[in-house]
């Protein structure tokens, strides 16, 4: 009977999820109306610094074990925030890239395809990196090095700039993307 109840609850939750998705699909995504508001700045260097193994070793040699663990947890928490932020930006950029795919200009479409690919990769790496960072928070001695995230994020940022330049050559590098 317990299993039946669990399955009925799962089925109800699935229906609620479907309803919310159908509602979301029907409404226009707000992110795209004003992407600026949804993109937060992420400092790649700061993130690299947090993840630097030399820095970690330096702290380990200088601090008492209990203190080191506490600090390391804080550092990992901050790194996780950076990763989440980068992943959030990737989601916004992915949507922008998808819209740019409709452009009549083949160069813009190619840049948009690459942007979408990189955004998807970043979200995939972010998922793995967050898992590792949270494990690291539980066990601060474990080595975690999601440097690939930083590389992927940098690569994606370069693509956004390229896409902006292709679409709006007169507005310079900082022009944001996309018009209908």
């Amino acid at each position: 009977m317990t299993i039946t109840l669990i399955l009925v609850c799962v089925a109800l939750l699935a229906l609620v999820l479907l309803l919310s998705l159908a509602k979301g699909q029907a409404s226009s995504p707000k992110v795209l109306e004003n992407p600026r508001e949804h993109i937060r700045s992420v400092d790649v260097e700061a993130f690299r610094n947090l993840m630097d193994p030399d820095e970690k070793e330096f702290l380990r040699t200088r601090l008492r074990p209990a203190e080191f663990r506490k600090i390391q947890r804080e550092r990992l928490r901050a790194a996780a925030d950076y990763v989440s932020c980068a992943a959030g930006n990737a989601a916004v950029l992915l949507r922008l890239g998808e819209a740019a795919r409709r452009s009549p200009d083949p160069a813009t479409v190619a840049a948009a395809d690459k942007l979408v690919d990189n955004a998807i990769r970043l979200r995939f790496y972010a998922f793995q990196a967050l898992a590792r960072l949270y494990v690291g928070m539980l066990l601060p001695g474990v080595r975690v090095s999601p440097v690939r995230i930083a590389e992927s994020y940098e690569q994606m940022t370069r693509l956004v700039v390229l896409l902006g330049c292709l679409q709006y050559p007169t507005r310079g590098v900082s022009a944001a993307l996309l018009a209908d």
């Binding site: 229906l15 479907l18 998705l21 699909q25 995504p29 795209l32 949507r95 996309l178 018009a179």
Partner: protein, 261 residues
């Protein structure tokens, strides 16, 4: 009143499904989703055969039951292909997803299979027991329900993982694909609940209620498929907004300084 409602819920969705097929061909969607096209065609054919048997004998005899079970098995198999087709649809649109997507599809299938088999074995009057004593119609029915539950766990789980997957990766759905997945997902969810309850509430009254629930949900699903086929594909509307350059640089410097302290 009940027979009229029963016949309506039996006939109407299949008539509407004919409309879905027509719309698919007219909009060239059948090339994008050949498995779903096959599924809809099979459902209509199965209905035609079962309805003809029913009319000729005017009762639900052994011939009808055999045809129903064969039809159900094939329909279930095609539905799995439709789900995989939806996954493939995403892999095709987003090549970067192929690796993680396939891993997710296989991983989820294996995990759900383990859960489904575990639950089938632990079900009251389990499938294995029923097969060994499969002499009566009721034991065959119980086995069918247990298998049905295992299958719906798999299908519902796969569809939900597809929705969660697309949500996490912020992927946009084409309205046709979303409609197919939404309809199948709603049907699989309701079937999961009813197939789980059927194993415990096996009286005729409950079975009639569960049959009506499934038929009404199927009717709803066909309407969903039709709606999403009729609705025009929405093109996202974006407005160009220049990024606040100064703000970004100031924040970057402040954050760097804060971290370097």
């Amino acid at each position: 009143m009940i027979p009229i409602l029963y016949y309506y819920l039996w006939v109407a969705p299949h008539v509407l499904l004919g409309g879905v097929l027509f719309l698919m061909v007219r909009r060239q969607v059948h090339r994008q989703f050949p498995m779903f096209f096959l599924y809809a065609t099979w459902e209509i054919s199965q209905f035609a055969v079962l309805f003809a048997i029913h009319l000729s004998n005017f009762h639900f005899g052994a011939g009808y039951q055999r045809a129903y079970l064969v039809g159900l098995a094939l329909s279930t198999a095609i539905r799995f292909e439709v789900i995989y087709e939806l996954f493939r649809h995403f892999f095709h649109r987003y090549p970067a997803l192929t690796g993680p997507g396939r891993f997710l599809f296989r991983g989820t299938t294996v995990l759900l299979l383990v859960i489904a088999v575990g639950l089938a074995i632990s079900a009251p009057g389990s499938a294995a027991d029923q097969i060994s004593h499969a002499t009566t119609y009721s034991s065959l029915k119980a086995t069918t329900f247990a298998l049905d539950r295992a299958v719906t766990i798999l299908q519902c789980g796969l569809l939900m993982s597809l929705f969660v997957f697309s949500r996490y990766f912020a992927l946009s759905w084409r309205s046709n694909a979303f409609g197919i997945a939404l309809g199948l997902g709603a049907f699989a969810s309701v079937e999961l609940a009813t197939s789980a309850m059927r194993l415990y509430f096996s009286s005729n009254t409950f079975n009639t209620f569960f049959d009506f629930s499934n038929m009404a949900t199927y009717h709803f699903c066909v309407l969903v498929w039709m709606f999403y086929l009729l609705a025009p594909e929405r093109k996202p509307h974006y407005a160009l907004q220049p990024l606040p350059e100064d703000d970004l640089e100031i924040w970057n410097r402040e954050l760097q300084r804060l971290i370097q302290q």
